[in-house]
């Protein structure tokens, strides 16, 4: 007698279900692949290519047409001139050509070699164009009264141009210069360090503030919902709005409200440049130390803007903890702080560590906040801001992509750590 076994092949119903599932997932997969995963791979490609911002405008055949002299009377013989130019300074164009439709009433004379005509359409083969090359093609034409009456110029109908040029993005020319340049750059290690400071302290700040806020709103009282909504404002409002509000608030020049307040209160004699000053020197016990002013302000902004999120999660977790444990602790005579340390915090460790890891990665990825607050000046340039600076301020796309590769590599390390130590799903 044979023991019954579960079926090893998939039944038709199961296959149909699987097909339907794939069908439903294909659109998502396609768009995510083309906009997220594709560019991610393309970024590696660009990082090993000598590509500048200007290379994005591909070499094109420029054609400028005119009649000289301008015809004034019926039957006048004039010259139709095409000025041909290669728009690129560096790249040649192969098999260049153009076609152009002339206005009615122009009769074409003898065509130069390479050019042909069909009705009112002129088409010319130009061969290969060197970088920056320019030359003219001239064709004799006779203007008729019909042309003069119509008032249409040849250039009103632009010539269509063709030709293929080497695009540095698709060529097989590689270089490691981008990486050597960024690793040997004077700023790189500073940038990496600033990035880590910003990420660690920004994340911790947001978590601690969130924990505090959650403690405040964990008890029921009138107006709690209003306060909860209010506490979420920094996160919900657009980053441009709040960032510029902070910039104006902390302005060190005349018109800066916060500095005016501090001076009025007698807390400081001269305005503090919160966002523009790299470091404030001070000494403790004879040690000369520096306080990183701008970086601290940027971290404070980060904590301010993202505490609502950790606050929401922690509050949700705290409200799901039953009251029995606290009642038991009360009977045992535990004081409120003891209850917080021994009951609340251990209950929150799960959500706190998940929040820490996710926020850590997101803070590391953050670009907008620092870019809008300081533009990366005064010792606040993080890796993400450096990507922008290299690629678009210095116009070296390759170097920017190389920094982006570094960002991604660091992130991958975080992600591995995250998956290794990821606690059971607690959110």
């Amino acid at each position: 007698m044979t023991t019954p076994k579960p079926p090893t092949h998939r039944g038709s119903l199961e296959r149909r279900e699987q097909k339907l599932a794939y069908l439903m997932l294909i659109p998502t997969f396609l768009i995510v692949f083309s906009i997220v995963l594709g560019p991610l791979l393309a970024n590696f490609w660009i990082s090993v290519k000598p590509v500048e911002l200007a290379d994005l405008r591909p070499a094109k055949v420029m054609v400028n047409e005119s009649l000289r002299p301008r015809p004034k009377e019926d039957g006048q013989e004039v010259t139709l001139r095409y000025r041909i130019r290669n728009s690129s300074q560096n790249d040649a164009i192969e098999n260049a050509s153009f076609t152009d439709v002339l206005p009615a009433g122009l009769t074409l004379g003898v065509m130069p070699s390479g050019c042909a005509t069909e009705g009112q359409t002129v088409s010319c083969e130009l061969g290969d164009l060197e970088p920056k090359q320019r030359f003219d093609i001239e064709i004799p034409v006779v203007a008729s009264q019909a042309y003069l009456d119509a008032g249409v110029r040849p250039r009103d109908d632009k010539a269509a141009t063709f030709g293929s040029s080497q695009n540095v993005l698709t060529s097989f020319e590689f270089t490691t210069e981008n990486f050597t340049k960024i690793f040997n750059g004077p700023e790189f290690w500073t940038v990496l360090r600033v990035s880590m400071y910003y990420t660690i302290f920004g994340t911790l700040g947001a978590l601690v503030l969130g924990l505090f806020a959650a403690q405040l709103l964990n008890t029921a009282f009138r107006g709690r919902n209003i306060l909860r909504g209010l506490f979420l404002f920094p996160y919900v409002a657009p980053v441009i709005a709040v960032a510029f509000a902070w910039v104006l608030l902390l302005d060190a020049g005349p018109g800066g409200t916060f500095n005016a307040l501090l001076m009025q209160m007698g807390a400081t004699d001269s305005p503090i440049n919160f966002l523009g000053q790299r470091a404030i020197p001070f000494s403790v016990f004879g040690l000369n130390l520096e306080f990183p002013m701008a970086l601290t302000t940027v971290i404070a902004f980060e904590a301010w803007r993202y505490f609502p999120l950790s606050f929401l999660f922690i509050l949700a977790r705290m409200q799901s903890v039953g009251g029995e444990m606290y009642e038991a602790a009360e009977i045992d005579g535990a004081t409120p702080f003891q209850q917080f340390w021994s009951i609340s915090l251990p209950q929150l460790v799960g959500i706190l560590s998940v929040l820490f890891l996710l926020r850590f990665i997101w803070t590391f990825n953050k670009f907008d906040d620092i870019f809008l607050l300081t533009g990366g000046a005064a010792g606040t340039r993080t890796l993400t801001v450096d990507v922008y600076e290299q690629a678009f301020a210095v116009s070296n796309l390759g170097a920017g992509a190389a920094v982006a590769v570094v960002v991604f590599a660091v992130l991958l390390v975080f992600a591995l750590i995250f998956f290794k130590f990821s606690p059971q799903d607690d959110g």
Partner: protein, 408 residues
């Protein structure tokens, strides 16, 4: 009245509250009235400390409403005496605003002492009871500080947008609003933004992009989430785990390749380009949030539908979707918020004024040629719609935020 450790606590708490309320009320007085005041912090702390001790006496001798009346009244009088009738460092001749501020200060100090010390007599108590007292103080301070820190930037934003550059430079603390100038003059910045700076176009563009992003995202994510949550197929486990990974890819890494490709494809300076990028970044989030919700729905309902002859698509349309309206609402709101607030791609991609979204438009105001009240008015215009929507649907958005998202 007996003296003890709680008496000492009362003195400290009183001094802290006196200082805090003097700073808060003094600054508010400055901002609202435009007066230049010199808040006497030391005297306020002394007032608070004295009242902190007296509070225990008041609790002992008086009952009910009399407690608060006496606390508030004495606080006010004491401050007036200690500051030689200049409660905010300004002679009493500046009557109106200072009078109001003085009453508010006394009220706040009295109330916080009542709420903070009530039920104690001043003598030493057990550690348990003492910690309760400390927690009251910390919570009270927490409420005040958090509220101020959250509100201050928004307050400055709104008030700056209603002022003009000259008066702001002359006195950056004066946020008083001159209501007699009429609405047209008061809202001049807003009117100019809409008439001269194309903010009408920006607003339309932002609304268009955000709403379309929501629609596209849901159209992609609903079937995807359903498949991941309900259907069995090879790679299901891998997929539901890797969705969140996509969510960790930083936008800045995508910007350079997308910029290069979109430039050459002619998609860069267009809203279409944004409508390709935004859904791609929001679909994984939406899918993750929705599949969590779909899993929580009882599958018996859907099986009943299948038994009764509905197709899978019919089940989704007639059973699953109507049941998940709250989840759809929260996902839609969350996606709308992301699209509306998005800055990086709008900033990198859009060059032409007619294409600008609000984020991009406000950045273009950040130049020395544009007065700062215009910049702040632009910030208010960008903030109000999304905040209004958030307050309107707060319940949904809060559940959406906690459901699947730690993104920012």
């Amino acid at each position: 009245m007996k003296l003890g450790s709680v008496t000492l606590f009362g003195i400290c708490a009183g001094a802290i509250w006196g200082t805090v309320w003097m700073i808060v009320v003094g600054v508010l007085l400055m901002l609202v009235s435009g007066l230049t005041t010199q808040p006497p912090l030391g005297m306020a702390a002394l007032t608070g400390a004295v009242m902190g001790v007296s509070a225990f006496l008041i609790f002992e001798k008086l009952q009910g409403r009399a407690q608060i009346v006496v606390l508030v009244g004495l606080s006010g009088l004491l401050l007036l005496v200690l500051t030689a009738a200049q409660p905010f460092g300004v002679p009493l001749t500046q009557v109106f605003y200072q009078l109001i501020a003085w009453i508010i200060f006394a009220g706040l100090l009295g109330t916080s002492l009542l709420m903070g010390l009530r039920g104690y007599t001043g003598e030493g108590v057990s550690r348990y009871r003492f910690e309760l007292l400390v927690i009251r103080l910390l919570k009270g301070l927490g409420f005040v500080i958090f509220t101020i820190v959250v509100v201050l930037p928004f307050y400055v934003m709104v008030m700056t947008s209603l002022k003009n550059q000259q008066s702001l430079l002359a006195n950056p603390l004066d946020f008083s609003i001159n209501l007699s100038q009429g609405a047209a003059s008061l809202f001049r910045s807003y009117i100019e933004l809409f008439t001269e700076y194309h903010f009408g176009t920006f607003l339309t563009n932002s609304a268009l992009v955000s709403v379309l992003t929501v629609i596209i995202t849901l159209a992609f994510a609903v079937p995807g989430a359903y498949a991941v949550a309900r259907l069995r197929f090879k790679g299901q486990a891998f997929l539901s785990r890797s969705i969140l990974l996509i969510y960790m890819v930083p936008a800045i890494v995508l910007v350079i390749p997308l910029y290069a490709v979109f430039s050459q494809a002619g998609l860069r300076n267009s809203l279409t380009g944004l409508l390709v990028v935004y859904p791609a970044t929001t679909i994984p989030v939406a899918l993750y949030m929705l599949q969590g919700y779909f899993r929580g729905l009882p599958s018996e309902l859907e099986e009943a539908g299948l038994m009764d002859g509905l197709s899978r698509v019919g089940v989704i349309l007639k059973i699953t979707l109507p049941l998940s309206l709250p989840a759809l609402a929260s996902v839609a709101l969350y996606v709308f918020m992301i699209a509306w607030n998005e800055f990086l791609f709008a900033f990198m991609f859009l060059d032409d004024l007619e294409m600008f979204t609000l984020s991009r438009g406000v950045v273009s105001l950040n130049s020395s040629e544009v007065p700062r009240q215009h910049l702040m008015a632009g910030a208010v215009i960008a903030t109000v719609p999304v905040l209004a929507l958030f307050l309107w649907f707060e319940r949904y958005l809060v559940s959406g935020l906690t459901a699947g998202s730690v993104k920012g």
